[in-house]
Symmetry: C2
Amino acid sequence: MARATIADVARQAGVSKATVSRFLNHRDKLLTKGIAARVEAAISTLSYSPNPMAQALKRGRSRLIGLVVADVSNPFSVAVLRGAEKACQQAGYLLMLFNLGNDSRREREAIETLTAYQVEGFILNTLGQDGGAAVESARHGKPVVLVDRRHHDMRADFVSLDNADAVRMGARHLVEAGYRELLFVSEPVKDVSPREERKSAFCRYLSESENTITNLHGSTFESMADEPEARLSNALQCLRQSAGERLPGILSSNAVVTLRVVAAMTRLGLRLGTDIGLVGFDDTEWSPYVGPGLSTIAQPTDDLGRIAADCLIERLKGLELPPRQILLSGRLMPRGSSVPSPA
Amino acid sequence: MARATIADVARQAGVSKATVSRFLNHRDKLLTKGIAARVEAAISTLSYSPNPMAQALKRGRSRLIGLVVADVSNPFSVAVLRGAEKACQQAGYLLMLFNLGNDSRREREAIETLTAYQVEGFILNTLGQDGGAAVESARHGKPVVLVDRRHHDMRADFVSLDNADAVRMGARHLVEAGYRELLFVSEPVKDVSPREERKSAFCRYLSESENTITNLHGSTFESMADEPEARLSNALQCLRQSAGERLPGILSSNAVVTLRVVAAMTRLGLRLGTDIGLVGFDDTEWSPYVGPGLSTIAQPTDDLGRIAADCLIERLKGLELPPRQILLSGRLMPRGSSVPSPA
DNA sequence: TTGTAAGCGTTATCAA
DNA sequence: TTGATAACGCTTACAA
């Protein structure tokens, strides 16, 4: 038999639908003990639970939160997803996931689809390049929280790693380990805010440290997904050239790039740590087992997701505040790839 | 301003709501050219799109498919998710994801929540241990497709890797490479169907090959997440003991276990391939870069997800057929970890 | 404190 | 071919 409706419960308990609805929404506030008990009994014998679609239609609120991620296969996104999910669940919301599959042109579609399903707000881990779809929905009164990636045209709560600090931490670690010719490797920076921030923080670190640390020098390199392998290999060889007697060290801006660097070093027969130092953003379960162990900067991904969701839920509860910016610190995980010579 | 409703469109076009609805659902089948044009114009000027909640309420169908995964942080689940998503999108369905976070007791909650949102069917990548919640919903007429994990009490379409074949492939590869003392390492097998299938396929392979291959011997080991590190280390040392002069080789049943094995070997100072051969289920982006490269058995994850979704959608379209079982072949990715001595 | 009735945005049934 | 009108399952004035 089909799901029980509020009418079934009302009939079973010998009361009106309104009474059942009151029991559900205001619990015992307005109800006689006896009636409440009868309703409760009816609900449990019919194992009734309200139809959220109908509720959404009537209330205009769906208890749904839209989560749009640029790419679910990015472990970072998944980690954020998990954190957000937990927070949403606790607050009685359900996450609706829309994965862009790295096609940023679909962002508008995602937001419109989710809007159609009456999501009450958005958590976005996207580029924001699809004609300000997010901005629009913010104007329509749906709160938005940005995670990890800023939208340049948008004022909204923003939750992210403290990139500047993390870069400084990674670079300083390399320097303290003895590496002097630094290279920052990232995917193409263009319009992707964390990449921009990391790159410029890297440059800032260099110009700040040139005075105090002798022989320190650095440069940056952008590696594309579909480039010929030789490009990155060349860059590494140049790096060793310019290093001369000094030790070269690489700071890579995410796990994918880190793997590309490792691959290139493998091709060239270069040893991690010994020939070139390496520190990479994003600590993964496999980081300890690549080569002598990869030194990484771990992001508090769970917290990022949780806090993003909490921010959104606060807004949904009516919190009025100028857009907040919440930056969380990363944690350095030193391993063999940033140790100059084998023990 | 708020979303346009069908009433707004009707007013704008100077027709009734029914006419607009007809335009939407039966297109031009029943409509005068002129009227159709007016409705079309009104729809586009108001940029109207129907409210799926209202549609769901009225039709009893939501265009939603529920996907329940045991653990999103498992890359396998994510890959399936991506495949399923693509297929659903093409068929005009939206996926609602529910992540169990490895707590199989929440499966019932997941199914009930999704049912409340009127999902039309389920794709389950779960244990099915939560009191046959899935079975129930199947009885309520919601089609279910199982991916990777069987529910012993359930007859439903099932999509999975051909585990028996994959195990044979992995074991044979080790044997052909010269390893003779084989160990199958998996997480606790209890009631997790792919683990059971892989383990028993391993044992079957052994008993079938003992006759033809001299000196071949094998055993199995179950490694728990929270066990002391020493347990697995011991197992490896035992393995080398019993191997004697022969080469020991390990077949590990998923990526997590593979990393545990690698960790244990690292602790013991054993070299991958040279001291112990290793082939692991699940090919990951990092597999090539751990040690001399990890030999793996790649699953066609995208296909698994896509086919699962397609099966479900066929059922939703009314296909009546006894439960199907669709097994896809894995692919061996040989790398350094199954090469006995360094080149 | 409880019930009646209207309405959320659709679709489906009936007349016209 | 088109238009009223009644549902779908729920919430919420307003009445009682």
